[in-house]
């Protein structure tokens, strides 16, 4: 194994370890629960801010309601149900995964996958290649190109 490959492997392991370390479950405080729930609720007197971010009196009152329910030991779902009973689904800032609107969570994935498929198809549809030049020639050419690109040798520019 070359030195480079070894370094790369060690580095990748370190990154994986760091990510694993960061996702270890934190203990959830009551304050944290309130923050999490209120960040998903829409402030009804504002233009799209969450209850957590908003300073409007109505938002602060809603935060108090959530805090009280959390202290009473209610589950997230019960608190959400209470808000839904008063304001309807409009008060939630993201669609719930189990509703029709929940399909929105798939949009980026589908868009990315579809685009990737098209891109890969384009890459695969390569014209039949001419016999490749020997490796050392290619390497020498690459070095030269790299050097020339770093300098100001004429590049093929069109008219401005």
């Amino acid at each position: 194994m070359t030195r480079e490959r070894a370094l790369i492997l060690v580095a990748l392991f370190a990154i994986l370890g760091a990510v694993a370390w960061s996702v270890r479950p934190n203990e959830v405080t009551a304050e944290g629960r309130v923050d999490r729930i209120t960040s998903e609720l829409r402030c009804v007197t504002c233009q799209g801010l969450s209850v957590k971010d908003s300073l409007a009196p109505s938002a602060r009152q809603m935060r108090d309601i959530v805090a009280q329910r959390v202290a009473e030991g209610r589950t997230d779902e019960e608190i959400r149900a209470e808000f839904r009973a008063s304001y309807g689904d409009w008060v939630f800032l993201s669609p719930s995964a189990t509703s029709w609107a929940g399909l929105m969570w798939l949009v980026p994935l589908v868009a990315f996958a579809a685009g990737l498929a098209v891109a890969l198809a384009r890459i695969r549809s390569a014209a039949p290649s001419v016999a490749a030049p020997p490796a050392h020639e290619v390497a020498a050419l690459r070095e030269r190109v790299a050097r020339e690109e770093a300098l100001d040798l004429p590049q093929t520019d069109g008219a401005e």
Binding site: V44, T45, P57, S58, Q61, M62, D64, I65, R84, A85, S86, Y87, G88, W90, V91, A114, V118, A121
Partner: protein
């Protein structure tokens, strides 16, 4: 680009345009709330004039019109004369008009009552629980509760005498059947 992708992009753009055209039908400020058609939440609150408490249950069996207002709300001032006239018309009948203060100090609310001639019972909703229970967004909002205690309708924004009377008469006709 594959043909299916080309056509689906064109179809997508066409669909987008249709949606945008349809969107003109709706007023973005007309946001529905979750409590219409459900049982009106019970509450007990301090009356603004200091004469004790008022509960929704005091008016069970009557037609109740709840009006959420605030002293900092200009449309509330604009709709006030309509409320005064309607109250004069119905105060001796089985209809009750109750004003509920929304996010305002008691002093400012009392001042508003005095200067604008509010003659119907008004209560302070200090912690906003009543507004929350009814799903109020912004003042002024008016809720119509039938004799059966179900919220029959909700009006957003300043209300006119016509809408008030229509709402009340509809509820009276309903109950008489």
């Amino acid at each position: 680009m594959p043909r299916w992708l080309r056509y689906s992009i064109v179809a997508g753009i066409a669909a987008l345009v249709v949606v945008l055209m349809l969107a003109f039908r709706y007023d973005p400020r007309d946001i529905r709330t979750g409590t219409v058609g459900k049982s009106a939440a019970q509450f007990t609150a301090e009356k603004l004039d200091g004469t004790g408490q008022l509960s929704l249950s005091d008016y069970a069996g009557k037609i109740v019109v709840l009006n959420f207002w605030a002293s900092w709300c200009p449309p509330c001032k604009v709709e006030n004369p309509a409320l005064i006239r309607v109250w004069e018309r119905y105060r001796t009948s089985d209809v009750v008009l109750i004003g509920i203060v929304f996010n305002d100090s008691t002093d400012k609310a009392r001042e508003y009552v005095r200067t604008n001639g509010v003659t119907w019972p008004t209560v302070q909703d200090g912690d906003g629980r009543i507004a929350f229970a009814y799903g109020v967004h912004q003042p002024p909002e008016t809720y119509f509760i039938g004799r059966d205690g179900i919220i029959a309708g909700r009006h957003i924004g300043e209300i006119t005498e016509q809408v008030l009377v229509n709402g009340i008469e509809q509820l009276r006709a309903q109950a008489a059947r």
